[in-house]
């Protein structure tokens, strides 16, 4: 019988019950103190080494390294721009005054200040590389990190392994794929896409439950009958799209039948104060939702901070329409990121989840060291900064350095491929792992010889 409220505890290999695990995840609402949580951890309910998750924050538009996390206060005004650095809770690390909350959590993340890529300076190429580790060439679409995790590890519990919030990146000028999908792994490993705005007052994942007029009995009957009818026709067996349809029905039924999985999406269960702390906007609420999803067993969550760079205020500060002005880092985009990111780190850490959840924040490139005539900065893949912490990654350090004007990496130049290797290593995936490419050609998760950023690992 198909039970909509089936709530059977699932037993883990180490003997902990899934129920216990989830309760551990929501300990703050249960009034469990941190020391008690540590006790749980000692018993193995949370093993940071075994099961690491990842939240990838795609800072669409491309934050300016010079106005965020790699300030050059001693450079001439046309380089250093309008903002001043502030101290953080880690001596020696300074970031822009636009991120005062983040500054209090600098011990929880590290900054890599020597990122660069060599592809065309358009948004799309950077999106591809920062989400898959590679540039798409010769018709080969590489899979997103989360899709690889989904393929190699499968789901944990009743939730999909890989979720994209809130929507895929839309047009950013290059007409190229952005790398959110499973590419050659096949659509079966595409992420579950929320396709809704979690900051919408009426936000809910549509149609998670049958309507009142449909009994569980009938839902169950329909499921069986549909399968029986499909089975009597063989012509679709070789169609990939048709197989995919089966798997999406299956996943839908799994989601429906798990009260816990459904609850993970129910943001209204969060106290108002928590929701406000993250920021009552699309990005803030997506970060909060990501935390809930990770708690419920989602292995990889990608959040697109923006969906396009046109006619929307984003990190893409060319200074002229339809793009954004540099002042938005102070007025809008900066505070939005500051609130959500600091709350996410704080929350994850208080719940003991930071130990097994990597949080990576990256744009697709940096921005021109010199402020342009429109008062903005243009695309600059030659040098930018990313944020990385959580899971096995160290916080409170700065990796690499840029030159005196933030134009080129000076120390430990770092490529998107190395970030990919870092993410895979952090997730516990062997870098030699091969994936099935087109026509069965094996493709390693990262090109052979690509090293992770070793200094990030504690």
């Amino acid at each position: 019988m198909f039970r909509l409220d089936a709530d059977l505890p699932v037993e883990f290999c180490d003997g902990t019950r899934r129920r216990d695990f989830l309760h551990a995840g929501v300990l703050s609402t249960l009034g469990l103190g941190l020391s008690q949580f540590a006790g749980l951890k000692a018993h193995g309910a949370v093993d940071p080494k075994k099961d690491v998750n990842c939240i990838l924050l795609m800072l669409v538009g491309g934050p300016s390294q010079l106005d965020t996390w790699d300030m050059k206060p001693n450079a001439p005004i046309e380089i250093r721009g309008p903002y001043k650095p502030i101290k953080t809770n880690v001596p020696g690390i300074e970031i822009s005054e636009n991120f005062p909350r983040m500054a209090k959590h600098a011990d929880k993340f590290s900054i890599v200040r020597s990122m660069y890529h060599t592809a065309a300076a358009v948004h799309d190429t950077g999106h591809q590389m920062m989400q898959t580790g590679r540039l798409f060439q010769g018709g080969v679409e590489h899979p997103h990190f989360g899709c690889v995790v989904g393929k190699l590890r499968g789901p944990k519990g009743d939730v999909p392994p890989n979720i994209l919030l809130p929507r895929p990146i839309g047009a950013t000028g290059g007409n190229m794929p952005h790398g959110h999908a499973a590419g050659y792994l096949g659509k079966a490993f595409d992420p579950f896409i929320l396709n809704a705005d979690p900051s919408d007052p009426n936000f809910r994942v549509p149609d998670m439950l049958p309507p009142d007029y449909l009994s569980a009995n009938r839902v169950d009957r329909r499921k069986n009958w549909r399968e029986a009818i499909d089975k009597s026709v063989s012509k679709f067996e070789t169609s990939q799209d048709a197989r995919l349809l089966d798997s999406s029905f299956q996943q839908a039924y799994t989601l429906m039948s798990s009260a816990k999985a459904r609850a993970a999406f129910e943001l209204h269960r969060e106290p108002e104060a928590v929701r406000e702390k993250y920021g009552l906007n699309r990005f803030g609420q997506s970060c909060l939702l990501a935390r809930r999803l990770v708690e419920a067993g989602v292995r990889f969550v990608t959040i697109n901070m923006f969906e396009t760079v046109f006619d929307e205020i984003t990190w893409d500060i060319h200074g002229s329409k339809p793009f954004s002005p540099i002042s938005c880092y102070k007025d809008l985009v900066g505070p939005m990121f500051d609130m959500a990111y600091s709350s996410l780190l704080e929350d994850l850490s208080q719940r003991g989840l930071l130990a097994n959840t990597m949080v990576i924040g990256t744009g697709e490139f940096g921005r021109t060291p010199k402020v342009n005539p429109a008062g903005g900065r243009d695309h600059w893949p030659q040098c930018w900064s990313i944020l990385a912490g959580g899971g096995p990654l160290k916080g409170g350090t700065v990796i690499g350095a840029s030159d005196e004007i933030g134009a080129m990496p000076k120390d430990r130049p770092t490529t998107p491929a190395e970030v990919a290797a870092t993410i895979y290593k952090g997730l516990g995936i062997d870098l030699e792992t091969e994936l099935p490419g087109a026509q069965g050609r094996p493709i390693p998760v990262v090109d052979r010889g690509t090293e992770p950023i070793k200094k990030l690992f504690a």
Binding site: N175, D230, D241, H379
Partner: protein
């Protein structure tokens, strides 16, 4: 069995004695620095090519005139003629080489030699000195789109240290890339290379600047242009550039190569192709903003031949089957009548046949009944609805930027045009040459949608030419032929469109202005309005620029024809002959070029008649193939050897559900009974349409519409109101069937005919009877659940 095998092979392959030939067949070395790499290309049993260049013994009849190296590279020695011969495996081939000006003075040209070196070695790529801001203070234009600026940067800036005329060897241009002194970009070439020699000798000659009289590259040639190769083989490609002074040069060394399908072939910087799989790939070539491609084919290997009952019915079939033969594919069987009927209705008109129509068709003994039903379909109102919807996608009809009456005026103009089967060239001309009230002439709303010249230029090229120009807005298109100059020449065609308020808020008046220009952003001046590769118009002319554009667009314009032919083809066959179907750029080759060219030519010959095009496609045996594969064509999803299964588009699927349940969907603000395909607007609320991938009509881009299955679609049909309410509707077909008191058998027969366009098989009837018997407590609910199961099954959701 052996006989079958033999027959099969004769049909598929041409057994011939092996032969050898040299490519290119004509060689003239016109300067002392001209070189020509030759290829020794063997044609083996079964039509397979083999590159013997590196195995052959090369010799020259007169090495004092033209010398040939062990690897087949010919260099000039003295004026005259020599015969070059290649020998291997008892075969030989020869080619005559003419040498001219061997002793004439020679200087390297900045535009034709120095720039290609900088481009090929990556100096001016986006990540290096080609970046918008340059690199380390040295800036070149991206991939060399502006030789004058680059010359200036090299010779005049930086106190002439980059090019040192007094001491050429101390030029940074030589020291940096050879890593004689530190260079962020590393070692680009060594001092003993041709690259070094070109730069060094050019500097030594006084670094002559680019000049107006420098010959221009007018086109490229590639050898071999198409070859059928064995799996794991390698094939060298040779590229020659043709110049405006009539000469051709081997430029293989300076070409940028890339493979369109790395699952079939990869290519390295020198143009050496390695075959990695079965199928076909294009190797695209880019040199001096000219593009071309070579085709490499690796036939599929078939252990068990299949006899084909394929009977060509028109030229499409002949050309499709030529491709299958070259690839060793046997087409699937022809689809049965039910499958054909359902497919034809869905593809031509976006509807399902009714039970009555299915029964009549199945019972009709006429041998030409398929052709007759095709003609009928193309004359139905639903045909006009369906294609008006598709063209509204293309032209971005929506209330996002248009007021409701304006949107209706635009939509109605489109639908009337489809209904009247307006020739496609006239359809386009009407849009671009009209003037006056947008209310009276709805087509003019296209200008209201595109008040921005840039947006207009980009969407027009996408919608009517299948070209993506966007990259060229800021710099020459990096892998395409379009330059930034061409972009602003083109955009300037739309700089004199005037729009003023009309009699009502939703009415505008469109007119041609006689002033106004868009500036080239770097030159800071307007350029003569010029269609892509077309004739320029004087800047000071006051003639309507739109008319100049429309004349070029619709007359002998390959892009224009191929764009629409490919879109229509993809609608019926599930995939464009060029894929994706809205991207017919020069470097994105067709899966079957001969077929594409023939369909396009036939379309033009018949006066851009869309219905003729559709009729030709639908009557072909290729269109009518079954989607079920045989032993040979399982891996084929590109060459149409079987029908490609596709999910019904969002609107078609919703209408089909309404049709089977007899309950129309209610759309806010539209009269009851309006079908999804009759909506002029995509902003009409519908969770069903949104989750099933309805496009937003913001960008002209095929990717806006999605047909990928997703969890949210499954959740919506399982739990959502759309389908569930249709099933339970007291006015619907389920209620009616119950009222009529039909037997279970009759009910099932009716449902199968309406939903699947076929009667149920006896085993299906038996199975479903049993299932229904389990749901005795309520026949109504039992039937609802049965119809739900039918309408969410693959046979319903897919067109096969």
């Amino acid at each position: 069995m052996r006989l079958i095998l033999l027959l099969c092979c004769t049909a598929a392959l041409l057994p011939a004695a092996p032969s050898l030939s040299i490519l290119p067949k004509e060689v003239t070395l016109a300067t002392p620095e001209s070189r020509q790499q030759l290829l020794a290309e063997a044609l083996l049993d079964g039509g397979v090519h083999s590159d013997w260049t590196r195995h052959a013994a090369w010799s020259s009849s007169n090495p004092a005139i033209a010398a040939v190296s062990l690897s087949g590279l010919v260099t000039p020695k003295a004026d005259g003629e020599a015969t070059i011969t290649a020998r291997h495996n008892n075969l030989s081939a020869s080619v005559t080489v003419r040498v001219r000006n061997a002793a004439a003075p020679f200087t390297w040209s900045f535009k034709n030699h120095v720039m290609p070196v900088l481009t090929k070695t990556g100096c001016n790529q986006g990540a290096c000195h080609g970046a918008l801001a340059g690199k380390n203070g040295f800036k070149l234009t991206l991939r060399g789109y502006d030789p004058e600026l680059d010359y200036d940067a090299l010779t005049r800036q930086s106190a002439s240290r980059r090019v040192n005329l007094a001491e050429p060897a101390r030029s940074l241009l030589l020291l940096k890339p050879t890593f004689a002194i530190p260079h962020m970009g590393g070692l680009r070439f060594k001092t003993d290379t041709r690259e070094y020699r070109v730069l060094a000798e050019w500097i030594a000659a006084g670094a002559p600047p680019p000049a107006e009289k420098d010959p221009e590259v007018t086109g490229l040639e590639v050898y071999p242009p198409a070859s059928i190769l064995a799996p794991n083989a390698t094939q060298q490609l040779i590229v020659r550039a043709r110049y405006s002074d009539g000469r051709s040069e081997d430029v293989t060394n300076w070409v940028k190569f890339s493979s369109a399908n790395e699952g079939v072939a990869t290519v390295d910087d020198s143009g050496l192709v390695k075959l990695t799989g079965h199928g076909e790939s294009a190797i695209t070539l880019w040199y001096a903003s000219k593009v071309l491609y070579a085709r490499v084919t690796v036939p599929f290997i078939n252990q068990t031949p299949v006899i084909s009952d394929f009977r060509p019915r028109n030229f499409i079939d002949n050309l499709a089957s030529a491709k299958w033969q070259s690839l060793n594919l046997t087409p699937s069987k022809v689809a049965d009548d039910s499958t054909f009927l359902r497919r034809a209705y869905l593809d031509a008109a976006g509807i399902l046949p009714t039970a009555g129509e299915v029964e009549a068709f199945l019972a009709d003994p006429a041998p030409d009944k398929r052709a007759k039903v095709i003609d009928q379909l193309l004359n139905r109102d639903e045909y006009a609805d369906y294609w008006a919807y598709k063209f509204s996608d293309l032209l971005l009809v929506s209330s996002r930027k248009l007021r409701t009456p304006a949107m209706w005026a635009f939509y109605n103009w489109i639908r009337d045009s489809v209904q009247a089967n307006k020739p496609w060239d006239q359809f386009a001309r009407d849009i671009f040459t009209g003037a006056g009230s947008t209310r009276q002439n709805g087509a003019l709303n296209y200008f209201v949608l595109h008040k921005d010249t840039i947006e207009m230029a980009e969407n027009v090229t996408q919608a009517f030419l299948g070209q993506r120009l966007t990259c060229a807005r800021c710099h020459n298109h990096p892998m395409e032929k379009w330059t930034q100059r061409q972009y602003y020449q083109f955009a300037n065609l739309f700089a004199r469109v005037g729009i003023k308020n009309g009699s009502t808020a939703a009415d505008n008046v469109v007119f041609a202005k006689n002033s106004g220009d868009i500036n080239h952003p770097r030159l800071l001046r307007p350029l003569s309005p010029t269609p892509l590769d077309g004739q320029p118009m004087p800047l000071d002319s006051t003639a309507d620029r739109r008319v100049h554009f429309a004349n070029w667009l619709t007359k002998d314009n390959d892009y224009f024809t191929r764009n629409i032919v490919n879109r229509v083809w993809a609608n019926f066959l599930g995939r464009g002959i060029v894929h994706p179907y809205d991207d017919v750029r020069a470097t994105n080759p067709a899966s079957n070029e001969e077929l594409f060219a023939a369909v396009a030519a036939d379309f033009v010959k018949h006066g851009y008649d869309l219905k003729h095009l559709m009729r030709t496609i639908m009557n072909s045996a290729t269109y009518q193939l079954s989607s079920e594969s045989n032993a040979t064509n399982q891996a084929d999803n590109v060459f149409y050897s079987k029908y490609i299964i596709k999910r019904l588009p969002a609107e078609v699927l919703l209408d089909a559900m309404s049709q089977v349940t007899g309950v129309p969907t209610a759309f806010g603000g539209y009269p009851a009974g309006t079908r999804a395909l009759q909506l002029p607007d995509v902003r009409v609320q519908s969770q069903f349409l949104t989750s099933f991938g309805r496009p937003e009509r913001i960008l002209c881009d095929a990717a806006e519409r999605s047909s990928d299955p997703s969890i949210s679609q499954a959740l919506h049909v399982i739990n959502g109101d759309t389908l569930n309410k249709k099933l339970a509707d007291p006015q619907g077909n389920i209620a009616l069937l119950l009222k009529l008191g039909l037997s279970e058998k009759k009910v099932l027969e009716h449902l199968y005919l309406t939903a699947y366009s076929r009667p149920p098989r006896p085993d299906e009837t038996a199975q479903l009877n049993k299932l229904l018997a389990d749901a005795k407590e309520s026949r109504q609910e039992g039937l609802e659940d049965l119809v739900w199961s039918l309408l969410t099954s693959k046979e319903f959701l897919f067109n096969y």
